[in-house]
Symmetry: C2
Subunit: 77 residues, 2 copies
């Protein structure tokens, strides 16, 4: 919920674009945040922009593993 408020606050301060990014299991939470912002809080003033997914390698040596990432753009209408 605090991420929702952070997004809403950015827009109310005049920002025209907010990017919500997440890795791993937090990806579903990022989608929740974006959906709540654009559908419940700011349905008339914010729309979806570009959605990107990717892979990041984290850790080093034997501990290396790949983690999925997401980047979702919210735009002022």
């Amino acid at each position: 919920m605090s991420y929702v408020l952070a997004c809403v606050m950015q827009f109310s301060q005049g920002v025209n674009e907010v990017k919500v990014v997440a890795r791993g299991r937090a990806i579903s939470k990022a989608v929740d945040v974006v959906e709540i912002v654009r559908q419940r809080f700011m349905p008339d003033s914010v729309k979806l922009g570009e959605i990107k997914i990717g892979t990041e390698t984290i850790g080093s040596g034997d501990d290396q593993r790949n983690v999925s990432t997401i980047e979702i753009q919210l735009l002022r209408v």
Copy 2:
């Protein structure tokens, strides 16, 4: 992993487009599946298509709640 194999099998059977869809916490898993298919298994023959997110209302009466959804398109190159 079985979803990865299911996607790879579809493409190897000649399909030109596969859509991976998920709801709720499975969203991060769907992104993992897509990333593994396109980066590890078929880096030269499959590319990302459109990515959509949305909200579905599930349950009825007092049990209604909103669940985020994702739909990721994989395309044969």
